[in-house]
Symmetry: C2
Subunit: 354 residues, 2 copies
């Protein structure tokens, strides 16, 4: 696809969470409508979409009708069943492509891909049972972390192994799912690059942000990351290599560890990313619009950073602090329209211009 | 109303054009849903609203159902029939209030109000027929401009009178409607102040912008306006006086002429205003969010200007230049999702960070 969508076209988005919501707003800025496909009821993205389909990814008729009603399909989360993608892709273009999805849906495929193109990851080994876990621990060492290869996010589906005798408990936590053992990395910080690639192959990266996690969930992203210029360049080149190799179209989040031996890829997410929310307050064109531009075949926008920004996630009851943030100078409040503030639930974020 | 709306509340917006569209997006940022009431089909605001009611302002049942479904009512244009307001206001709070609407709906009421609170306007006289027009011309002089007192915008319902002999032709253009004759003002520029007032009475003004019109329609707004600091202060104080006197809640656009004798009020608009679109690229909180904050009973946000910006309207076929603007650094593109680019129709705008 090298032609660009015309004004009035409809972008189909799989997933109706906060990322879909902010993608939908960005699409409106460029004159597009959106159609959200989401199994859950009352999705946050639905409040700002032209159309919402509430149906499961097993509902073939709903998938077909959705695809036929839109001009291009994208997604806000990567765990879409293959069977649904088969149906959708036969009807309309899908960006980012299947290879990007398949790569990021499975930690082993992802790590193998990254290693194959010459990028470092933490030492890792595949684990399917007690025997392979024993081999993996001998190989990767402890402390290490056992993760299901699929469907994990925000610290879910993970178990730490501080010493070999914790192996069986960790394995039990995987509940029979295929897993990967990852060695701990001695890193000074985590950074992420929000990278975009357009249909003509042009690549643009936002300035790397510095991430701090709390209880396995992103807490803050601060730009600029406190790293030397050479690492900044390395990070951007690594991201570009990933996108180019995958013939990627759209925005990707690339998480990297800064170590004494250079940058190590933590993981990639084939979508707009929580660590890129700061772009709403620091750039002329934010990550959401950049993604919409890419999947719509538009030229990428100007994502040059013009301000120092700290993004703070509002998790669960953090949202009770909104009245305070609403009064604070240089602070942008973003709420996701979620009804209930459950523990660990991302309710919104703030961008503070520093 | 001194309590603030809770997350998940719904803001009802009368009018579904581009202003309603951008208000709806701003509402989503703060976790609110919107319900658009608009007589026309396929309104631009409907693409990003939770609910759209397509009905006329004479449809009593539709008005009642709309009001009952929302928590507060605001509007994106001022020419709402009084009968509709009576129905709506009996059910839910309306911001800005009836007095602001009544004042701005009628040029004579507006000018009288401004003069009463000590603000200068162009010399003016009421015109109902040929005899009163003759008196008015004698009083106000020529060149002057005859305008219908109600329902005029973007140069519509206006006729210039360069010399007394053009009087009858100008009067015919009013088609029997009550009119006002306004004297020409010798001004060096037009500026506008986008002012906001919250439910607690706090007032915040964005930095005045400098407006250039073309064919009676706003062409560009540039900030900062090239005026001395003293005039900037005058402009802001005048706007604050208007809002305070009207016990106003929301954002208002105040257009002013810069003359040798100081500032003269051209007109006021009790809503977000085209000359405030630059705030999307130059402030942490833009005029749309400021309006939503005010009507929702939130504290006003930080509207401090951090960049120099030029806003350029895309009128009719100007929209064909979008591919060029999409590639231009420091340019934000905003399209309104209108299907057809008619001459004189506002299709979008760009904000260029200077």
């Amino acid at each position: 696809m090298t032609t660009s969508l015309q004004p009035g076209a409809t972008i189909g988005i799989l997933g109706g969470g906060q990322l879909g919501r902010m993608l939908s707003v960005a699409a409106s800025r460029l004159g597009f409508k959106t159609h959200i496909f989401e199994p859950g009821s009352n999705p946050p993205a639905g409040h700002v979409a032209e159309t919402v389909t509430t149906a499961s990814y097993e509902d073939v008729d709903a998938l077909r009708a959705f695809a036929q009603s839109v001009d291009v399909i994208t997604y806000e989360f990567e765990n879409i069943p293959t069977s649904a993608l088969d149906i959708l892709e036969a009807i309309r273009p899908l960006h980012p492509n299947r290879r990007a999805l398949a790569t990021s849906q499975d930690r082993i495929i992802e790590k193998s891909f990254l290693n194959e193109i010459g990028l470092k990851t933490a030492p890792w080994a595949k684990v399917t049972d007690a025997a392979s876990l024993e081999v993996a621990i001998a190989d990767v060492g402890t402390p290490s972390i056992l993760k299901t290869t699929r469907l994990g996010y925000d610290g879910k589906g993970q178990a730490r192994i501080m010493a070999p005798e914790e192996a069986s408990e960790a394995l039990a936590a995987m509940a029979g799912a295929e897993a990967v053992l990852e060695g701990f990395i001695d890193f000074s910080m985590e950074i992420s690059v929000i990278a975009a690639r357009g249909t003509t192959g042009e690549v643009a990266c936002f300035d790397p942000g510095q991430n701090v996690h709390k209880n396995g969930i992103l807490h803050t992203t601060t730009v600029p990351a406190q790293i030397p210029e050479s690492l900044r360049m390395d990070a951007v080149l690594m991201a570009a290599k990933i996108l180019n190799t995958l013939d990627y179209v759209g925005v990707m989040g690339v998480e990297l560890f800064v170590t004494k031996g250079g940058l190590i890829v933590n993981e990639i997410a084939p979508r707009v990313h929580n660590s890129g929310h700061w772009t709403q307050a620091g750039c002329t064109v934010d990550q959401f619009e950049q993604h919409i531009r890419a999947v719509a075949g538009w030229p990428l926008g100007d994502g040059t950073r013009y301000a120092d920004v700290e993004m703070l996630n509002l998790i669960g009851d953090d949202v009770l602090r909104v009245p305070e943030f609403a009064k604070t100078p240089r602070v942008q409040v973003h709420l996701y329209g979620k009804a209930e503030a459950k523990p660990g639930r991302k309710m919104g974020h703030i961008n503070k211009v520093l």
